[in-house]
């Protein structure tokens, strides 16, 4: 059988209570028995000594000698002794009272039939009061033997039945107390422990929720004890689980995109190559054609294949994490390289403001791509003409490259999404450019900051460490 925690605790408490009650009771009963036995022995001892003295004085005192003159002495003496003995034996616990000769013969006893019988016991020769035990009529009794006149002894036998009865009573009352205490303590301790456990129960329910996938739970337990600490830890854990799940979902999504991208990228590569080759062949064959339209069509095929290739490259770049290969590079000449590859429309003016040309440790290919991509975004954001300013600035161990355009700007609701994959506002584009740039910059231990205002323009600042 499985016991609940409160049941276990209350049973243990009850058991401990019973054990301590019994321990206490047995010690006190023992002490009480010892005390009572001693008291009763003392009492009987005094009584027996008194009887011995009474008989001795009747036998030897002057006054009795005087008294003897008037009474037929032996007869009276016997009667007197008999009277004393019977009187002493009156109380219930006294078994017998005897006057015994030095020979061991019982002269007088409250039990008539005993008279004339002999006792074989060394106590018949005692000259001081002794206490001994014996079995009389199958009952264990105590006997007090006190000396009296001329080697005679007085024997007082009494039972300890009273004490035993008292002990039984005490044991019964102890048991009763124990039962009462147990029957009260079990429900009380059960109730108290249940009360203590109720927050734990609440937390258990919340854990159940979590195991069912509902991470959006918080415990409301407010206390300063260990349970409070547990509750706070639990809340922390739930929050972290929630964010972790978000991250896992995001990375799963990204990895799915990545796998798809790799597949699509690789699969598109061959047909694109064939198209390009076929177009090249046709151009060679028809190169001399004077038809302007044919030339234009070849141009379109070429450009679009180029664009398709760029998408494929972006997809593969995005899905393959390439570690930067660090070498010392001249940042400014890299930017100039990138800008040289840029198709700048006539209505866009490129302005450069370079600080003292810093040499940094970076992957030149990756940096060139980052710069080209960001610059291209800048130019594309200026459809109605304007300026793109590219500047560098050295800040401590970092260098900042800023691309400031006077373009359309990014609406606030899009600001958080611009670095997420597949987000794009352009009609032509898969929305991987900024995401790749961000990955590459992070790979360099840098970061990209964006400030933008609709209608005013955007500033992309790439912060790169000078030393890797």
């Amino acid at each position: 059988m499985r016991l609940s925690f409160p049941s276990k605790v209350s049973l243990i408490v009850a058991l401990l209570l019973v054990l301590s009650i019994f321990a206490y009771a047995s010690v006190s009963i023992m002490l009480e028995v010892n005390k009572r036995t001693k008291d009763i022995i003392d009492e009987k001892k005094s009584l027996n000594e008194l009887v011995a003295f009474t008989i001795e004085s009747a036998e030897t005192a002057e006054v009795v000698t005087w008294y003897k003159k008037y009474v037929e002495s032996a007869e009276v003496m016997t009667w007197y002794k008999k009277y004393v003995v019977t009187k002493v034996a009156e109380p219930e616990d006294v078994v017998y009272c005897r006057l015994v000769k030095p020979t061991g013969e019982i002269i007088i006893s409250n039990i008539e039939e005993e008279s004339g019988m002999f006792i074989r016991d060394p106590a018949i020769a005692t000259n001081k009061t002794v206490v001994k035990d014996e079995v009389f009529n199958e009952e264990k009794i105590l006997v007090i033997v006190s000396p009296t006149y001329e080697g005679h002894t007085v024997w007082l036998g009494f039972s300890l039945r009273k004490i035993n009865e008292a002990v039984t009573g005490m044991i019964i009352s102890t048991l009763a107390t124990a039962m009462v205490i147990v029957s009260i303590s079990i429900p009380i301790s059960y109730f108290i422990v249940s009360r203590f456990l109720s927050p734990i129960k609440e937390l258990t329910n919340l854990c159940d929720d979590i195991s069912r996938g509902n991470f959006n739970v918080q415990s409301n337990i407010q206390s300063k004890d260990e349970v409070g600490v547990l509750s706070n830890t639990f809340n922390d854990m739930a929050r972290k689980l929630e964010t972790m799940r978000e991250e896992i979902r995001r990375s799963e999504r990204l990895s799915a995109i990545g796998q798809l991208a790799t597949m699509v990228g690789h699969d598109l590569r061959n047909p694109l190559t064939s198209i390009q080759n076929a177009a090249y062949f046709l151009k060679m064959k028809l190169g001399g054609s004077t038809d302007e339209k044919v030339k234009k069509m070849f141009g379109i095929i070429n450009n679009e294949v180029g664009y398709a290739n760029k998408i494929v490259n972006d997809l593969l770049d995005f899905s393959t994490v390439k570690k930067p290969e660090f070498t010392k590079v001249n940042l400014v000449s890299l930017i100039k390289d990138a800008l040289a590859q840029l198709d700048v429309p006539e209505n866009v003016n490129i302005v450069t403001k370079f600080s003292e040309s810093p040499i940094i440790e970076a992957d030149p290919d990756q940096l060139r791509r980052i710069f080209l991509n960001i610059a291209l975004n800048g130019v594309q954001a200026i459809p109605n003409g304007g300026e793109l300013t590219v500047s560098t600035r050295n800040v401590d161990d970092f260098v900042e490259v800023a691309f400031i355009d006077t373009g359309v700007g990014i609406p606030e609701e899009n600001m958080s999404k611009i670095f997420t994959p597949l987000f794009t506002t352009k009609s032509k584009g898969v929305g991987l450019g900024l995401c790749i740039c961000n990955n590459l910059v992070e790979g360099h231990g840098g970061k990209i900051d964006v400030i933008s205002k609709v209608g005013v323009g955007s500033t992309f600042t790439i912060k790169l460490p000078i030393h890797h």
Binding site: H266, R269, N270, P271, L272, T273, S274, Q276, N277, A278, Y280, F281, M284, K285, V305, N309, V312, N313, L316, T320, K322, E325
Partner: protein, 148 residues
């Protein structure tokens, strides 16, 4: 001058067809192989000035084919076509004995340039070797004549 012959190895039929069309149009003699085994077979039975090898083939890695061809046809120019632009691929190709590597998507213009360059180099080496042989024979002949 005799036409230079080129073996193109790729598992994509369209690429084989378009590439050989371009190369033939440019005056080269071409042959194609769809996998590594076929390429080895053909390079054993016929002579090629050059082989264009795709790095990924259905039956073996391009680099493996490279090693095998290096054994059978050491003088043949071997150009590796790597699928994805990575320094790792390029280094690997060159380490395995490629004379050049070119990345997909191929720009036919670039490819033609590389092919022309490499063939020119091959011809020059050949010429030099021929010249050396001629010179050697001539010196030997003169020597023999003097001795006589």
């Amino acid at each position: 001058m005799e036409k230079a012959s080129i073996l193109i190895v790729d598992d994509d039929e369209s690429i084989l067809e378009t590439l050989s069309a371009i190369l033939e149009e440019k005056g080269y003699k071409t042959d194609t192989a769809k996998n590594g085994a076929e390429a080895i077979e053909k390079s054993k039975t016929s002579f090629y000035n050059m082989a264009l090898l795709d790095i990924k083939l259905p039956d073996m890695e391009g680099t493996q084919l490279l090693i095998k061809m290096k054994g059978t046809r050491p003088k043949m120019i071997k150009i590796m076509i790597t699928g994805y632009a990575s320094l790792q691929n390029a280094i690997e190709a060159l380490n395995y004995g490629a004379d050049a590597y070119i990345m997909k998507p191929l720009d036919p213009e670039d490819l033609l340039k590389v092919i022309a360059e490499k063939l020119k180099m091959q011809r020059e080496v050949e010429k030099m070797n021929q010249k050396r042989v001629v010179e050697w024979i001539e010196t030997r002949a003169r020597k023999l004549e003097r001795e006589r």
